[in-house]
């Protein structure tokens, strides 16, 4: 299941929900908030989601992963709101009998989520500026209020 979370990710809870007695492999990915972007110090960031469509599109990606790979289960949870350096921004988990399917599915899910799900990231830099990632030419130099 694809979810959005306005609070800290509870990864041990999501992991527990994926458990399956048939499974021999669990592969997960966590995306963390790093303190730099293109060499520029980052202090914090915010994620904003178009929730209705994000949940639908995220759900479709998980369905595709189930069709493409021999999975028993897969899930993804993405943060919204204000995040600090080191916080988990996204978690993906994939469970299968053998490791190949779980590795491949985990990679597929995170790659698709990053380019298809309507979630936006705003970075706040040490120099006082802020900007929406991938919209550099529209807002990167808007002064942080």
């Amino acid at each position: 299941m694809f979810q959005l979370s306005p609070e800290l990710l509870r990864i041990h809870v999501y992991e527990a929900e994926l458990r399956d007695p048939r499974a021999g492999a669990y592969v997960s990915f966590e995306g963390w908030v790093r303190n730099h972007q293109h060499g520029r110090p980052v202090l914090r960031l915010e994620y904003e989601a178009y929730a209705d469509l994000a949940l639908k599109e995220g759900g479709r990606i998980l369905e595709e992963a189930r069709e493409r790979f021999r999975l028993y289960n897969a899930a993804c949870v993405h943060r919204t709101g204000a995040l600090a350096i080191g916080d988990a921004a996204v978690w993906v988990g994939a469970v299968s009998a053998h490791r190949d399917a779980a590795f491949d599915a985990c990679r597929y899910i995170i790659d698709e989520v990053k380019v298809r799900v309507p979630i936006w990231k705003k970075e706040y830099y040490e120099d006082g500026y802020s900007g929406w990632v991938n919209c550099e030419n529209c807002a990167a130099h808007a002064k942080d209020k």
Partner: protein, 80 residues
């Protein structure tokens, strides 16, 4: 003339200065509606860099605009 709802996110929300609008428009396509709003609010992004959704599903830019639609223009995404 039709009445539509528009929701704004991320950079478009900031440039609009609001999260949503209800507006009357003569625009007959999603592209025409965006161009109308871009002219009004000075959105920096060209439509070619956006996707568009109607009633919570992705749509083609050439799709017709219908009375009562809820439209969302989707700037380049950056999840993960």
């Amino acid at each position: 003339m039709k009445t539509v709802q528009v929701q704004y996110y991320a950079v478009l929300r900031e440039q609009r200065g609001a999260g949503s609008d209800e507006l009357n428009t003569e625009a007959d396509s999603l592209r025409a509606l965006y161009d109308e709003l871009r002219a009004r609010y000075g959105f920096s992004l060209d439509a070619d860099r956006l996707r568009v959704a109607v009633n919570s599903e992705f749509r083609d830019w050439a799709a017709p605009l219908n009375d009562g639609d809820t439209v969302v223009f989707i700037p380049p995404v950056a999840g993960g």
